[in-house]
């Protein structure tokens, strides 16, 4: 891991302009931006971690916790929005007791908001580890969660 990061940092020229590509690459390899990663980037680039965290939180794409065993991507694109994805999101957050971007404390679920995933016909739609669940209703949220939870035991 450490070596990887060093490589990413060496490969990209160390300048503030490269911050975002560097963070993207780290997330791609490690799945999320850890405290350790942010600290190391900060040291190399001579940037305070608060600045890096500020930049990273500006974009939805970065996460700061490892993804769960089941990673739920919830579409908040236009079609899904029109068909009520906001209430679906609320329900997921309520059932899982986490906010979008977070991972449940048992490590089983993580929740991410994504823009249109190109399945507008299925709206409102989510994808769990690549598996699509279409035309969601509030009542189906609990079922979906339970089905994965059962699988994980």
């Amino acid at each position: 891991m450490l070596q990887n990061k060093a490589k990413i940092l060496d490969k990209n020229q160390i300048s503030r302009d490269n911050l975002i590509p560097i963070l993207q690459e780290i997330q791609e390899r490690e799945g999320f931006l850890s405290k350790k990663a942010i600290t190391e980037v900060g040291q190399k680039m001579n940037l305070p971690t608060s600045k890096i965290y500020g930049v990273a939180t500006f974009y939805n794409q970065f996460r700061f916790e490892p993804t769960g065993k089941y990673h739920i991507q919830l579409c908040r694109g236009t079609a899904c929005h029109v068909l009520g994805s906001a209430t679906i999101l609320d329900e997921f957050e309520k059932q899982l007791k986490i906010k979008a971007g977070q991972t449940t404390s048992d490590g089983i679920f993580s929740l991410e908001i994504v823009a249109c995933i190109g399945a507008c016909g299925l709206a409102p739609v989510i994808s769990v580890n690549g598996e699509f669940h279409a035309k969601l209703e509030i009542n189906s949220v609990k079922e979906i969660i339970n089905s994965y939870r059962n699988k994980s035991i």
Partner: protein
């Protein structure tokens, strides 16, 4: 070059902003994101004026003047635009002015008053954020934050700490630490300069009022109080005196009226610090030990070093700060002499500083299990206390401090201003090394409000290299020079707050523009007018050594008055 303001032509200089011209001509336009002497960001747009030719609104804080520019500062368009901005800011604001620490001293409140905002026009969702109570010095209430960004800039540009920044985007934006965790786990050094620039109640000091109230009312406790050198020349401003009025006697009287049993002056222990630190300096020079020696009185600087420059920790003097020294003496020597169980002493310090609250609760700052100091009040909190107790500060009869530990030299008094510790130390080091006093005592080269001052002081054959910096950004530059091989310095004074403690993070918010200068002047006038100008002649300090401490850097002095620091792991 000329521009027209409200149909009147005025002279301007090249590269001035409209705002600077307006200020010079005593025309007031409000600002929020702007900080004096810093590059404008133009983020809030409350400072807009109307371009009289085009009718466009332009931000005066960031707009450079050009010849022939015509502006209107209070046209209908301007006023209603400012009003809308304030209404927008209020739309998600908690509106609990009556319960707010900044009630009566809030820029948002006075803006909405001045712009006659009298009804709620825009209803937005209220902010919901938790209070951050994790720090021992500073409380953050993000619900009251209007995102002007002044705290972020001070922390980054003046302090080089960058503990906080903007997090998230759009209406989710907040100001917070890395990973949005408590301030206590961040690199925050507790200097409180963010509080000084915050327009609202989003940042304030952790109050120690309830603890003090109950201690004062507890018959078992002897409640002792000490106040820092800067307090007597600062507190007056809250009671309609001119900035820089020295009200030492009234301060003593007010503290007794509140119910403090004994009133001491931290300046006494500033003198004690000079005895200890001066001796340490001389020993280090004589024995060829690690130099430069760096002062340790400023707890914000000490924490900064623990985090950012641990390699300099052995350069930092082992002396505790004057606050802690006096605290330690009161719970040892004073307690013994007066037959009081130290457990029954409640020791309060009044400081121009928020970092002193942090310092007071550090593990290092104890002796036999007793905290040297139990509670720390800022200058602001003292004003509140005086008002709570209904004391007529203006007319109260002056009184003296309690003795011993109340007599002070004027050298100790200079601790309140950047360069003062240095000047006091030089006076005593000079005497210790040569046996005679420094000619007319003054060390002019380390005076003034500049962020960095240096001098070479001839003491017999020794050419003492000294540097004084205030504002941690300035400290950083100097420390980097030393890291890169600079070796002509023997002694460095570092204060976190620009100008030193007179500009501390616990001082009056929105003080008069000249306040800093006036407070400084007041300290030098005291030094000019009084006769006891050197710490080593303070009779009560001499007596303390004779009766108790033996000599500077003695075993017992070390046990009570010195400490060491360790590298601190935080997210930098």
């Amino acid at each position: 070059m000329k521009i027209e303001i409200n149909n009147k032509w005025v002279e301007t200089f090249e590269e001035e902003t409209i705002l600077e011209v307006l200020k010079r001509n005593n025309i007031h336009v409000p600002t929020l994101c702007h900080i004096k002497d810093m590059l404008p960001t133009g983020a809030c747009r409350i400072c807009v004026v109307e371009d009289a030719d085009s009718g466009k609104l332009i931000p005066s804080c960031s707009f450079p003047v050009y010849d022939g520019l015509k502006v209107k500062t209070h046209s209908q368009k301007v006023i209603s635009s400012r009003k809308t901005i304030v209404e927008l800011l209020l739309s998600n604001h908690p509106d609990d002015c009556l319960y707010c620490v900044r009630n009566g001293n809030c820029e948002l409140q006075s803006l909405s008053d001045n712009l006659q905002v009298r009804e709620r026009k825009i209803r937005g969702n209220k902010n919901h954020h938790k209070l951050d109570l994790s720090s021992s010095s500073i409380i953050r209430d993000p619900e009251k934050c209007i995102l002007c960004g002044r705290c972020v800039r001070i922390c980054e540009e003046v302090m080089e700490v960058s503990a906080i920044d903007f997090i998230n985007r759009g209406n989710k934006t907040v100001i917070g630490t890395t990973f949005n965790e408590g301030l206590n786990t961040s690199s925050c050094v507790n200097c409180g300069q963010c509080i000084m620039v915050c327009p609202t109640g989003a940042l304030s000091e952790k109050k120690h009022f309830p603890e003090i109230l109950s201690a004062i009312n507890n018959p078992k406790k002897q409640v002792v109080v000490q106040y820092a050198p800067a307090i007597s020349v600062s507190i007056a401003e809250d009671f309609d005196f001119k900035a820089g009025t020295d009200v030492n006697g009234k301060l003593n009287a007010a503290l007794r009226a509140i119910g403090f049993d004994k009133v001491f002056d931290t300046t006494f222990s500033a003198d004690l610090t000079i005895m200890e630190e001066g001796t340490e300096l001389i020993n280090r020079i004589k024995n060829g030990e690690k130099l430069p020696l760096i002062t340790s009185c400023c707890p914000a600087w000490v924490k900064y070093a623990e985090e950012f420059y641990p390699e300099f920790l052995t350069n930092i003097s082992s002396c505790k700060s004057p606050q802690q020294m006096l605290g330690a003496i009161l719970k040892s020597y004073y307690a013994q002499k007066n037959n009081i169980n130290p457990a029954n002493i409640y020791s309060v310090a009044i400081m121009p500083c928020t970092a002193k609250k942090f310092e007071g609760q550090r593990d290092e700052m104890t002796n036999n299990g007793y905290s040297d100091v139990d509670a720390v009040l800022t200058t602001r909190e003292l004003s509140e206390l005086i008002k709570t107790f209904g004391i007529d500060f203006k007319n109260i009869e002056p009184e003296l401090t309690d003795s011993p530990h109340g007599v002070r030299s004027t050298a100790g008094k200079l601790f309140g201003v950047s360069g003062g510790v240095m000047e006091a130390a030089i006076r005593t080091a000079y005497f210790k090394l040569t046996g005679s006093e420094l000619l007319n005592f003054k060390v002019k080269s380390v005076r003034g409000l500049k962020g960095r001052k240096e001098a070479k002081i001839k003491i017999d054959n020794l050419e003492l290299g000294v540097a004084v910096v205030s504002g941690l950004a300035n400290a950083k530059i100097l420390l980097e020079e030393i890291k890169n091989g600079r070796d002509d310095l023997h002694f460095i004074e570092i204060m976190a707050c620009p100008g030193g403690c007179i500009g501390g993070g616990g001082q009056k918010i929105n003080a008069d523009e000249n306040a800093l200068k006036e407070r400084m002047k007041a300290l030098y006038i005291i030094d000019e007018n009084e006769t006891l100008k050197v710490s080593h002649k303070n009779p009560e300090v001499i007596e303390l050594y004779k009766n108790f401490l033996e000599e500077p850097n003695s075993h017992i002095a070390h046990k009570l008055l010195h400490t060491t620091y360790k590298k601190r792991d935080v997210l930098l």
